[in-house]
């Protein structure tokens, strides 16, 4: 063993001085220091030795704590001459050459890892070593206070951020050790703690996916806003990505009822059909139906997707999915954090009957530029995060689908023929009324369809207390199923072709400007100006050159049906949070908005059939008091009042939620409240022939204001490894709306013609009104730690509606599912992640024809009518699906994850799940066609970050 040392002595001295000071400093500073050391210390040294000796030398010379397995490293040699190279590069180089990774913990300790899973063992080893060396030091992770406390019962105000990117971390748990004081950070990452015992108290900050940080207060750092920077944890620490929020000793999380939280960072560990999908991930949890492949929207506890409020950076998103509902409209790389409130939600939110999904967009990296990309068989996305100035950051994320095999497969699922049950062959499935032309013709389908979405967010920090951010989201789906029909010669005599137009374009544009201000240590405010629009245009019809009539005269034809739905929502809202003292927190605010919805239904060569233009202004205030009388009990009464212009009256929504910790692991909780909804998304009866859905505003006559009452109670048990949660709910609903457009039949032809182009078509609209009720019980058992993680969930539920149009009894609502079982299994080995999710649920209810009969009306044309079962009296076969995925983490030399490669298998055993049944009449016979969901579908995903 021989080596020469020639070191940078002045630097060395400087750092030993720093080291001394840092004993008093807190943890995260140590990690920061190690990082800095790695960058600043330069090595000018010739090494020719075993690797373990190299690390020993480095550790000793530079006062670093380096932990490694001695035996394997002893067998590795290094022969290298470093000239003035930063220590970081030296580490990277030797690790790289020997297939190792290094990892810096928040305590500043450097771990040398052969496999990422070694970390846990090395950590333990480190602890033991420390203990044997210095018993006292090992016991106390945090240094003793340097001086006696000077201030008592202080108020503390701080902010939790990601140390590397500067991104604020909402809902992080902050507590004062050895006291009952605790809180969670707000959406801007801020927290306030009042009456902290002294300025030498120890603060602990916990956030999923990050290393827990502990530090001691001192008289210096308590006066300004305390910045707590957290370091991400090594990817292998098996934390479950989605959790029914963790119950810390005393954070509001365990006390909220029915809240699910998701951080998109680890979504690539779950199987996905296409891209990483934040909304679909929630469908794996109890209470959110997982069997609606055709909707990314959330069917929460017997509710429909339009009863779920989706907020992105404060503005409402009205269309949450792409490509017939198969993919969520949100790009996971632009999302920081998502919370789903399954019911009984706070009075801060309103305007929806069932649930709230709140999405916080990423602000972007404050420290350095980073570029990332995500590729799958369906879409490609790019994202950019960059600081523009020391005070401002920018995030851009763009995603576009391309017409790969996966896109085509899903597209065809919706547009091609499917299995036929009875009778002879059938024609096309009649999308957009194609049925009339059927299979006989050679359809030349040349669809050009795509979707894209883009997110942008600009954040400017005016001062320590003020921050302004501008967020933009736009997404569009264009589905073009247009095609040319080459008419067989002889039919028209001319052989002239006909072009079928079937064109749908829909999407969102939303934007918000948010001003955050911290008025003082106790008072925060968020003011928003938001704009959101939704459009859905559908154009279908046929046009042709010259078709000869029986007199031999050529006619050109053009039959078009145009449907447009436009919604515009302009809102101002102001949200305030006042921490009166540790027991009382007041949330209050106000909002005013103007909504405008247009719906037009025009038939090209006749006239405008439906022409609706509705406006509504609404405004209101809310207040909610969060009370913690002691460390066990939490109660949160609130009220929300909305004045709705079109009905000219106010709506009061009292809310209440409470929780009680029976023991420190067992919590009982409950919530109740009144909820109103002033806009409805109506699903057209002929789902494929028309607009799939559009929005209408409640009014004083035919569209009522929806109303719902929730009663929720639950019990949860959580220890370090397991979470068991049981929640029950009962909801009543009234003012439900179902919409139907009926064609006043003309020209006979059996009425099933679809593309019949009755030139004298007239349309009438009907809104059916009804009531509903939903009840259910949800059980979740989750294993949170270890190589194997996952959960099992079972939901027993019932959702019923009563519409006088369908009878006087309650019937199973369309989304009603009795039993739903979900098993989510994730296994982690080194850099590999394996996942298998299995879903089983009772089939959806449907209405079936039982018999048919024919009536010859006054024009002498027979029309066939179907006698049907009770409304939703039948059930489709049970739904079941197994998805599997495997992904491999791509790690940098310092152990940070920079991406992953994954393979997803959707519906592995290719189970045929029926979406709905369609009935056509041919030769007076009723032919049943099953329209199925996706079969086995593989997908490959690649996710990469530049840094």
């Amino acid at each position: 063993m021989q080596f020469r040392c020639k070191e940078n002595v002045p630097l060395m001295k400087k750092f030993s001085l720093l080291l001394l000071i840092s004993i008093a400093a807190y943890h995260q500073a140590q990690s920061q220091q190690t990082q800095q050391k790695l960058k600043k210390i330069t090595i000018d040294h010739f090494f020719s030795c075993q690797l373990d000796l190299l690390f020993d030398t480095l550790a000793m010379d530079h006062h670093l704590r380096i932990v490694f397995d001695r035996q394997p490293l002893h067998e590795m040699d290094v022969v290298e001459h470093f000239f003035e190279e930063p220590l970081k590069d030296v580490l990277a180089k030797v690790c790289n050459e020997n297939g190792l990774k290094y990892w810096i913990e928040s305590s500043g300790t450097i771990y040398i890892l052969k496999n990422t899973d070694d970390l846990a063992r090395l950590k333990q080893m480190n602890q033991l070593n420390l203990k044997s060396k210095d018993a006292i030091k090992a016991k106390k992770e945090i240094a003793a206070p340097l001086e006696l406390p000077k201030h008592f019962l202080i108020s503390l105000n701080g902010r939790v951020i990601d140390q590397l990117t500067g991104e604020s971390l909402p809902s992080a748990s902050v507590r004062i050790k050895n006291s009952e004081l605790s809180t969670t950070t707000n959406s801007e990452g801020y927290f306030t703690l009042l009456r902290v015992p002294s300025d030498t108290s120890v603060v602990e900050v916990v956030y999923t996916g990050y290393q827990t940080d502990q530090f001691r207060l001192n008289s210096g750092n308590i006066n300004s806003t305390l910045i707590c920077g957290l370091y991400s944890s090594l990817n292998t620490l098996n934390e479950v990505t989605i959790n029914g929020k963790k119950s810390g000793v005393m954070n509001t999380d365990s006390r909220q009822v029915g809240v699910l939280q998701l951080s998109p960072a680890n979504l690539d560990k779950l199987p996905s059909i296409g891209d990483k999908d934040i909304l679909r991930a929630f469908q794996l949890m109890p209470g959110v139906s997982g069997t609606n492949e055709s909707s990314s929207g959330a069917y929460v506890r017997g509710g429909t997707p339009d009863q779920n409020l989706v907020l992105l950076d404060g503005f409402t998103i009205y269309q949450v999915d792409h490509l017939y509902g198969f993919f969520s409209a949100f790009n996971a790389s632009a999302v920081k954090d998502v919370q789903l409130y399954k019911g009984g939600f706070t009075s801060k939110y309103g305007g929806r009957l069932s649930s709230v999904t709140e999405i916080n967009g990423k602000e972007g990296n404050k420290n350095e530029t980073n570029i990332g990309t995500d590729l799958s068989l369906l879409s490609a996305s790019m994202n950019l995060e960059t600081p523009l100035s020391p005070k401002s950051t920018l995030l851009l994320a763009i995603r576009r689908s391309y017409q790969g095999p996966l896109y085509d497969k899903i597209f065809k699922q919706f547009t091609a023929s499917t299995t036929t049950q009875a009778g002879g062959g059938t024609g096309g499935r009649g999308l957009g009324g194609r049925g009339g032309f059927g299979g006989g013709f050679a359809n030349q389908v040349t669809p050009s369809s795509y979707f894209y979405d883009a997110n942008a967010k600009y954040t400017y920090t005016i001062s320590q207390k003020d921050k302004v951010s501008w967020s933009l989201y736009t997404g569009t789906d264009k589905t073009d199923n247009s095609r040319d029909l080459g008419l067989p010669p002889g039919l028209s005599g001319s052989g002239a072709g006909i072009a079928i137009t079937d064109y749908t374009k829909y999407g969102n544009l939303g934007s918000s400007i948010k001003w955050f201000r911290q008025w003082n240590k106790k008072l925060y405010s968020n003011n928003y100006i938001t704009y959101s629009s939704y459009f859905n245009d559908r154009n279908r019809g046929s046009s042709g050159g010259s078709a000869l009539d029986s007199n031999g005269i050529a006619h050109s034809i053009n039959n078009t049906t145009l449907e447009t739905n436009n919604l515009k929502d302009e809102t101002f809202k102001s949200e305030w949070e006042w921490q009166a003292d540790n027991k009382y927190k007041l949330l209050f605010g106000g909002f005013a908005s103007h909504k405008k919805i247009d719906y037009e239904y025009t038939q090209g060569d006749t006239t405008q059939l439906i022409n609706q233009h509705n406006n509504a202004s609404l405004g209101g205030v809310y207040a909610e008091l969060s009370i913690d009388p002691n460390s066990k009990f939490h109660i949160q009464p609130g009220i929300r009042t909305t004045y709705y212009g079109p009905t000219g009256r106010p709506y009061f929504e009292p809310r209440l939620s409470a929780s009680y910790n029976l023991t420190d692991r067992l919590t009982v909780k409950g919530a109740t409240g009144q909820f109103y909804q002033f806009e409805n998304q109506v699903i057209r009866e002929d789902i494929l022939a028309g607009n799939r859905n559009f929005w209408v505003l409640s009014n004083n006559n035919n569209i009522p204001v929806g109303s719902s009452r929730h009663y929720i109670t639950g019990l949860s048990y959580e220890n370090d490894n397991f979470l068991v949660s049981l929640e029950g709910y009962y909801k009543t609903l009234s003012g439900l709306t179902q919409y139907t457009v009926r064609q006043t039949q003309t020209g006979g032809g059996g009425g099933f013609g679809g593309f019949g182009q009755n030139q004298t078509l007239t349309v009438t609209e009907d809104f059916y009104q009804g009531v509903g009720r939903a009840e259910g019980l949800e059980l979740l058992v989750q294993k949170k730690l270890g190589r194997y993680t996952g959960w099992v969930s079972y939901t027993l539920a019932k959702a019923e509606n009563k519409f006088s149009a369908f009878g006087n009894d309650y019937y199973a609502a369309d989304q009603d599912v009795r039993h739903e079982f979900k098993s989510i299994n994730m296994y982690h080995y080194q850099r590999w992640n394996f996942a298998a999710t299995f879903l089983f649920s009772t089939g959806h209810p449907y209405t079936a024809p039982l018999a048919s009969y024919t009536i010859k009306t006054a024009d002498g044309n027979p029309t066939t009518y179907l006698t049907i079962s009770d409304k939703n009296g039948e059930r489709l076969p049970a739904y079941q699906r197994l998805d599997m995925s495997v992904s491999y983490d791509l790690l940098k030399i310092d152990g940070h994850k920079v991406g992953s490669i994954g393979l997803s298998l959707f519906n592995v055993y290719n189970h045929t799940n029926i979406w709905y049944r369609e009935y056509q009449i041919q030769n007076n016979q009723v032919i049943t066609t099953n329209v199925n969901y996706l079969g086995f579908t593989p997908n490959i995903t690649l996710s990469l970050k530049w840094k």
Binding site: H555, T606, T607, G748, Q759, L779, T854, T867
Partner: protein
Amino acid sequence: MEIKTYFRYIIILASGFLMLASCKKNSVGLDYINKPVVEAFLVPGQPLSVKVYTQKDLADTAVYGAALTGLNLSVSDGSKSVQLTESASGVYTNADLAFITSGKSYTLQFTYDNVVVSASTTMPGKPVGFKLTDSVFYVPVTIDPAYATKVLATATWTNPDSLNYVLLFKNTDSDPFNIITVRSNNKPSFQVNTEGAAIYNMTQSSFNYYGHYQVILLRVNDEYINLLKSNSRGSSQNLTNPPTNVNNGLGIFTAMQSDTLALRVTLKQ
């Protein structure tokens, strides 16, 4: 152990709920399928004829279901009741033309399968002031979308109370000529629900066939309009039972009055 105890409670609770929520069996079927179908249009001056038949199996390719024979049908106008005779199998008639007149209500009644089937309707008033702008309608050589809404002819009638009228275009040619072949799935004769209006506008694409038409203005009842409005296209997501005014049965028993004009549809030269 603590956790085991909780598990046990949860399992007991969950299984309790399971038992409570055992599904209720829906008693749909038989009643509905066995309901007889009635088809009758009462028009003054025409003999009363009621057709009664069964529903069809879904796979049945016949137009009508099997005729129901041997029934005892009676129709009452409130003061007088007539017994119908079965003139053909499943078709029950009464030849007395004077029985069906304006302003009266009629009730049909018969027993089928030990259940009383009945239906009522009221004879509406006769249409008044029915006029066409011209007795000839000229179809333009080119059907140009730009002129889609251009009114080429109108039918008008008196309707101050926005009552229900249906306009029936009955092609009387034995072998009518198509105007445009691709619309061939439309029948030569067709009807239009005028939705309470007193006017109907004819445009370039109002007709599918050339030829001679009887334009019949029908004053109808709600039950007829309901039948026209019923959406018979369908998937399992949107099926609804068709409307009927027959108790314990299906179909329609309705009265109407008409006024007829002649129209010739030809190509513009």
